[in-house]
């Protein structure tokens, strides 16, 4: 809110001025766009056409997730943290407008080695009620289970061991340590993790707009280093830290990158 107020005040001040501020003579922009693939092909939702590493036949209905702390690593060793007031970005497979992120920042020109980000939201930033509006607010993670927000909801169905089509909610967020399951929580586990995107080096020329495509390869959530079997973990995992841990380990190589233009 304070940041929004600031923005308003800034605009207010510039409202009547004609000239542009001196430090904005060159404009370098980044557009991050997002895509979902399974086995190399564009995701087709709602149809049971996929088989994961464990041999489960499955379909995907929808995916919603957050990335944050997007950082550009300069070849000279310095880093640039994207600072847009809304630096936590929400992506939703059903909402095309969330799949393109026009980053607000004016990025310094230069050559960059890689891009990294946090999958989910780090402990310091993951505060309950920081998103009051949908769709982000619908990602809330219950207080009792650690609070803050889901890092991801990946909802789908699989053909279970009884040949029944059963829903799975592959939801990641803060994990819990139980004294006696599912009651008596004695501690929480921060499951967010860092990803450094492969093949994400690029050179930013003056006045350039760089479009970078981030592809989530969904099958990798279930593949390596751990073979994730829906028959073993069942339909829900928000209270199963063992399952969320495997999932987060698998998440390391879920993204691939295409630097366009």
């Amino acid at each position: 809110m304070t940041q929004r107020l600031l923005l308003i005040i800034v605009l207010f001040c510039f409202g009547c001025k004609k000239e542009t501020p001196p430090d904005e003579q060159s404009q370098q922009k980044i557009i991050l766009s997002f895509d979902f693939r399974v086995d190399g092909e564009k995701l087709q939702t709602d149809t049971m056409i996929y088989i994961n590493e464990a041999g489960n036949h499955y379909l995907v209905n929808e995916i919603q997730f957050f990335i944050s702390d997007v950082t550009l690593h300069h070849t000279d060793g310095s880093t640039y943290l994207i600072q847009e007031w809304k630096d936590i970005h929400y992506i939703d497979s059903d909402l095309p407008e969330t799949q393109t992120w026009n980053v607000f920042d004016n990025i310094p020109a230069g050559s960059y080695q890689s891009i990294s980000f946090t999958f989910g939201i780090n402990e310091e930033k993951n505060q309950s009620l920081m998103f009051l509006n949908p769709p982000e607010s619908f990602m809330f993670w219950p207080q009792y289970l650690g609070g803050g927000y889901h890092y991801m909801k990946l909802n789908g169905k699989w053909l279970d061991e009884n040949q029944q089509i059963s829903p799975f909610n592959f939801h990641l967020g803060i994990g819990q340590i139980y004294y006696s399951y599912p009651d008596s929580i004695t501690g929480f586990v921060q499951n967010y993790f860092q990803i450094t995107l492969p093949n994400s080096s690029f050179t930013m020329e003056k006045n350039q707009t760089k479009e970078i495509l981030l592809i989530m390869n969904i099958e990798n959530w279930f593949r390596s280093p751990n073979t994730y079997d829906h028959d073993k973990w069942g339909g829900n995992i928000m209270q199963k830290q063992d399952a969320m841990r495997l999932a987060c380990e698998n998440g390391q190589d879920v993204f691939t990158t295409v630097v366009k233009k």
Binding site: R4, L7, I8, L11, F12, G15, C16, T45, D46, N61, E62, D92, D94, L95, E97, S128, L129, F131, L132, N133, P134, P135, S137, F138, M139, F140, W141, P142, Q143, Y144, L145, G147, Y149, N155, G156, K157, D160, Q164, I165, S166, P167, F168, N169, H171, Y181, P182, G234, G235, N236, I237, M238, Q239
Partner: protein, 384 residues
């Protein structure tokens, strides 16, 4: 899935109009010439934890005068275009404040909570509450077919299963009633009654129906404690290993206690052919995943809004809890969030059911049900 829905101002949010106003005013030197009609802007106060994005159409800003007019019209049976006392019907005939603007299961005329129109034709589905609709951006009615409250007003006037009138009759009758033309002038700058302005006024009134003072809200503000049973119920409500209601019906991070989205929650197995409901979500989106999907209603004040589900199949909350606990039915269209389908339900014990019900009861907001500002006016404009 087809949640292809526009959250009108996800990005813009409230800040943007404010910025524009500030920008405009910051450059102007003198105030514009006073206009003959100057309605008083009405400010919505956003309760703690509630969304800041409001669904107020740009062409219908909330004003004190608009809301006052809307309140008269909402409760005035002559909006049905008739004047004979036996043939009057208003929005308030079906939408009763004491029942969170549903007719309620104990309604003297609409036995069991199944309303019908002036001709006796039953409404296709049972009622929906009018609670916090100013935060609904995803469509009204059980299937979300209507995007604006404004449009529901003329639809209510003409629908065979409601007032079965026509908009010309409605506006002519209102135009003739002494007092109304002045109120239209004050609210909209013209004494001529139009259906558009009738719709605007009633919509403004409905947008003031805010419920944010339940025991649970006061608990969030740290003003009261919940009982051990209510706390257990809250934990059940918001855990997957518990009753698992929160993904669709909200919780701490979503105090509306609804997503205003549409789900098939596992009541039936057949949805096509003879079982097809022409008013389910599928008939809005055309996406087969939406067969048998309806809006997950808010659970605020749920105790007074029976019967439950779009077809009113459950008379009591106990039956609803029994259903989610043991009687879910599988179909290819079931929403993936209903992952307890594999076991037929969330399998609550009797004491867990009691706790869950105790928690849901903390969403009861007596102030909302009795606030005189939402109730019928003491006198209509021609009775002054």
């Amino acid at each position: 899935m087809s949640r292809k829905i526009t959250y009108h101002s996800v990005r813009a949010s409230l800040g943007i109009p404010l910025i524009v106003i500030l920008l405009l005013s910051s450059c102007k030197k003198e105030a514009p010439a006073p206009s003959p009609y100057q309605p008083t802007p009405y400010q919505i106060e956003i309760p703690f934890g509630f969304p800041t994005n409001l669904n107020i159409p740009a062409d219908n800003p909330m004003t004190v005068e608009g809301i006052e007019l809307g309140r008269y019209l909402f409760y005035d049976g002559r909006i049905s275009g008739r004047t004979h006392p036996d043939s009057l019907m208003s929005c308030g005939t079906c939408h009763l404040q004491a029942n969170a603007f549903e007719c309620g299961i104990d309604h003297p005329t609409y036995t069991g909570g199944f309303p019908y129109g002036i001709t006796g034709k039953p409404t296709p589905h049972v009622m929906l509450p009018m609670i916090n609709l100013i935060w609904n951006h995803t469509g009204y009615l059980w299937n979300g077919a209507v995007l604006n409250i404004e449009d529901l007003v003329w639809m209510g006037v003409v629908a065979e299963h409601e007032m079965n009138s026509d908009t010309n009759r409605a506006k002519e009758v209102i135009q003739q009633i002494p007092g109304y033309p002045e109120l239209f002038q004050k609210a909209f700058g013209s004494e001529t009654v139009t259906m558009k302005n009738i719709g605007r006024a009633i919509a403004q009134f409905i947008r003031t129906f805010i419920s944010a003072n339940s025991k649970f809200d006061r608990y969030l503000h740290g003003e009261v404690q919940l009982s051990p049973s209510e706390i257990s119920g809250f934990i059940l409500f918001t855990t997957e290993e518990g009753a698992d209601c929160f993904h669709c019906h909200g919780g701490y991070g979503n105090p509306l206690f609804t997503t205003h989205l549409f789900y098939n929650n596992g009541k039936d197995s057949l949805f096509t052919g003879p079982y097809e409901d022409p008013r389910d979500r599928y008939h809005v989106t055309g996406d087969p995943m939406d067969y048998g999907a309806y809006k997950a209603t808010t659970l605020r004040n749920i105790a007074v809004t029976g019967p439950y589900m779009h077809d009113g199949r459950f008379a009591t909350l106990d039956e609803v809890i029994e259903f989610y606990s043991h009687h879910l039915v599988w179909s290819p269209y079931i929403n993936p969030l209903m992952h307890h389908i594999t076991n037929g339900g969330v399998q609550l014990t009797p004491s867990e059911k009691a706790d869950l019900k105790a928690f849901i009861a903390t969403l009861h907001d007596e102030e909302f049900l009795t606030n005189p500002a939402f109730g019928p006016p003491e006198k209509f404009p021609d009775e002054k």
